[in-house]
């Protein structure tokens, strides 16, 4: 996190606004919180939007609505409600959607109220679970720097390898929706962005007066789903994706010890204490050679390590897939191939990964891809992990390995976009740092 010392004054006003919003008694409070205590203002009193600035919208007065009891204080606390597989690994929600917005006008308490009311409506409409709806609200560097004109707690995303030139997202807000009900996500999107009615909702949902929708990315993860959707660019003919694979590349990604815990990725102090940071990248998959040229053993070598066998993956990699990074030197010198898990595992701290993957596949634009959503305590942790995955120095030890040849999965992913966000606590999720 950068810029934290400069945020002390903002924190004071933020806390006051949260009190007014009545969102302070979420987790563990027992009964539902009363609606809209003390903030039932009808007009937006701040900024260019109120004065009819460019792109600004009239901000309606909306009832804030009650919030169901027992919701976790951390937006990113999903694991407790996820199903478990036979080994105890959490099973991620099947369908995901990333909605990207900019602030419509100037950040203000009234706009915060519009967003908060909509999110509370969703919380009342659906249980906090994959069978219902899970979501996080993250705020990007442009929100802080351009809309609030303050220092950002997270840096602008950058290219993270010598072989990528991604577009850098400049969105103010990213809303990550997840559910086992795919149509529900589309319905929620149209309700939020365009004011369409949502069956079962009992409160306001249209956020268009506060936020301007800019982009949507969709996807899925789970046994059978990639195989069902493999008729996409980047996947060779012949239905090569295994029927039971949860991801297009044919292997699992969410083993419990191959992930940071939610505690690990929680920001310990400062204005965003209790929150986390999120990196969202969009990668195109190019699997012609992955399935067309490589045997299953060769795919195992590149996904895990050349010392790993297919039988190990099947029988032993039940809760972890560290792939022994201490053998990386041997992989480089003896095998001339290095594996993704093996190189990435070098970024672990006290034996645990430092990022929590919430990634999912996609066929957006007809192309197989991966929306890599990752949570971590600081964006630097993500950068560290990605640098380990790049394994740039391997080429200097054995030039048969280049940055994209015989180097993990680097030659099968093409990074299109990157963006960084801070994910506040549930109480602070709507327009953080906006003064009352």
């Amino acid at each position: 996190m950068s810029g934290m010392p400069m945020l002390g004054r903002a924190l004071a006003s933020l806390t006051r606004r949260r009190f007014l919003l009545g969102a302070g008694a979420v987790a563990g409070a027992g009964a539902a919180v009363a609606a809209g205590v003390g903030i039932d203002r009808a007009v937006d009193t701040g900024g260019p939007a109120a004065a009819g600035g460019p792109g600004a919208a009239q901000v309606p007065s909306v009832p804030l609505g009650a919030q169901p009891a027992g919701l976790p204080a951390r937006q990113h606390a999903w694991n407790a409600v996820l199903a478990r597989d036979q080994y105890g690994n959490p099973v991620p929600p099947l369908y995901h959607r990333l909605l990207f917005f900019d602030v419509n006008g100037h950040p203000s308490a009234a706009r915060a109220r519009v967003l908060e009311a909509a999110l509370r409506t969703l919380e009342r409409a659906y249980p906090w679970a994959p069978a219902g709806l899970l979501f996080t609200v993250g705020w990007g560097q442009p929100y802080f720097a351009d809309a609030l004109h303050t220092s950002s707690p997270i840096p602008v995303a950058t290219a993270l390898s010598g072989f990528e030139l991604p577009a850098i997202d400049d969105y103010h807000l990213c809303l990550h929706l997840a559910s086992d009900d795919e149509p529900r996500l589309a319905a929620v999107e149209t309700a939020l962005a365009r004011g369409a009615p949502l069956p079962g909702a009992d409160g306001p949902l249209d956020v268009s007066s506060a936020l301007r929708w800019r982009e949507t990315r969709t996807g899925f993860i789970g046994t059978g789903l990639p195989a069902e959707r493999q008729d996409a660019g980047g996947i060779p003919a012949g239905d090569p994706v295994p029927a039971a694979a949860p991801l297009f590349m044919g292997f699992k990604s969410s083993l419990t010890r191959n992930q940071a815990t939610e505690d690990d990725v929680t920001i310990p102090g400062g204005p965003f204490a209790g929150g986390t940071t999120m990196h969202a990248s969009y990668m195109r998959l190019s699997l012609d050679d992955w399935y067309g040229q490589l045997s299953e053993d060769e795919r195992v070598a590149r996904m895990y390590a050349p010392q790993v066998t297919l039988q190990q993956v099947t029988d032993d990699f039940t809760t972890d897939a560290e792939s022994d990074p201490s053998l990386l030197g041997q992989a480089i010198s003896r095998y001339g191939v290095i594996g993704h898990s093996q190189t990435s595992a070098r970024a672990r701290r006290a034996g645990r990964p430092i990022i929590l993957r919430r990634d999912f596949n996609t066929t957006d634009s007809g192309q197989a891809g991966l929306h890599f959503v990752s949570l971590q305590r600081t964006i630097a942790d993500f950068v560290t992990t990605r640098a380990a995955m790049n394994a740039t120095s391997a080429q200097l030890q054995n030039p048969v390995i280049t940055d994209t040849v015989n180097n993990g999965i680097n030659s099968f992913i093409f990074v299109l976009k990157r963006g960084n966000y801070v994910v506040p606590t549930r109480a602070e999720r709507s327009f953080p740092l906006v003064d009352d």
């Binding site: 990528e164 095998y335 280049t402 015989n406």
Partner: protein, 219 residues
């Protein structure tokens, strides 16, 4: 699969001495099967730069597939798809006869044969624009698009051949004639550098060429 020793023997026979080291290290042997000695060059395409990218275009004409079929693959006279300059690095993209080639992963190797519907072998060369010396140790990702279609999207293999030397290549299949965009993402060379190269090619560079493909599939 072929054994390593056999591959190395092939490498020694196939390469000029100056390229032997690179070939063993990078490990991708291009077996020239057709047409290289008789290829014809087209005039260099014009190029322009804007910001961090450059583009050029050329018409490949209508005679790209003339010639007799051999082994099910028709010879494709070598034709330039585009040329660009990046901080003194000359980036050249050519289309030529599709070829089988061998890739090497350190302990095993594999022959990659052209697909039945292959159109041409895409060859990208990186050279010092002043001296013509080949610049190795980079990587090139090539994407061919036509409207929203993306018939090719792959990292090119670092490759060597007797007549074309070190380059980056792969066989490409296009769905038919038409105007296509070829986008190359060239990464900085990963190597130690003499001082004259210390301040260039430090970040990836994207270059886009527009070309017209008039040929029918080569097979």
């Amino acid at each position: 699969m072929v054994k390593v020793d056999r591959l190395r023997s092939q490498l020694r026979r196939a390469m000029p001495a100056g390229f032997l080291l690179l070939g063993v290290l990078i490990g991708a042997l291009l077996v020239i099967a057709f047409g290289s000695g008789g290829t014809t060059s087209t005039p260099s395409a014009t190029s322009s730069s804007a910001g961090n990218s450059s583009s050029s275009g050329m018409n490949m004409g209508t005679g790209a597939t003339s010639g007799a079929s051999a082994g099910g693959i028709k010879p494709v006279p070598m034709q330039q798809l585009g040329v660009a300059d990046w901080q003194g690095m000359k980036i050249t993209a050519d289309a030529m006869t599709p070829v089988p080639f061998i890739v090497y992963n350190g302990t095993t190797s594999q022959e990659i044969k052209p697909a039945k519907n292959v159109s041409f072998h895409l060859m990208v060369q990186l050279n010092d624009a002043q001296t013509g010396v080949v610049i190795p140790y980079a990587s090139v990702w090539a994407t061919v698009t036509k409207g929203s279609a993306m018939p090719f999207d792959n990292r090119l293999w670092p490759m060597i051949s007797r007549y074309m030397g070190p380059h980056y290549g792969d066989d490409v299949s296009l769905p038919g004639a038409g105007t296509y965009q070829l986008t190359l993402l060239v990464s900085p060379p990963v190597s130690a550098r003499h001082l004259e190269y210390q301040n260039v090619w430090l970040k990836p560079h994207r270059v886009t060429f527009t070309f017209h493909w008039a040929a029918t599939p080569a097979s």
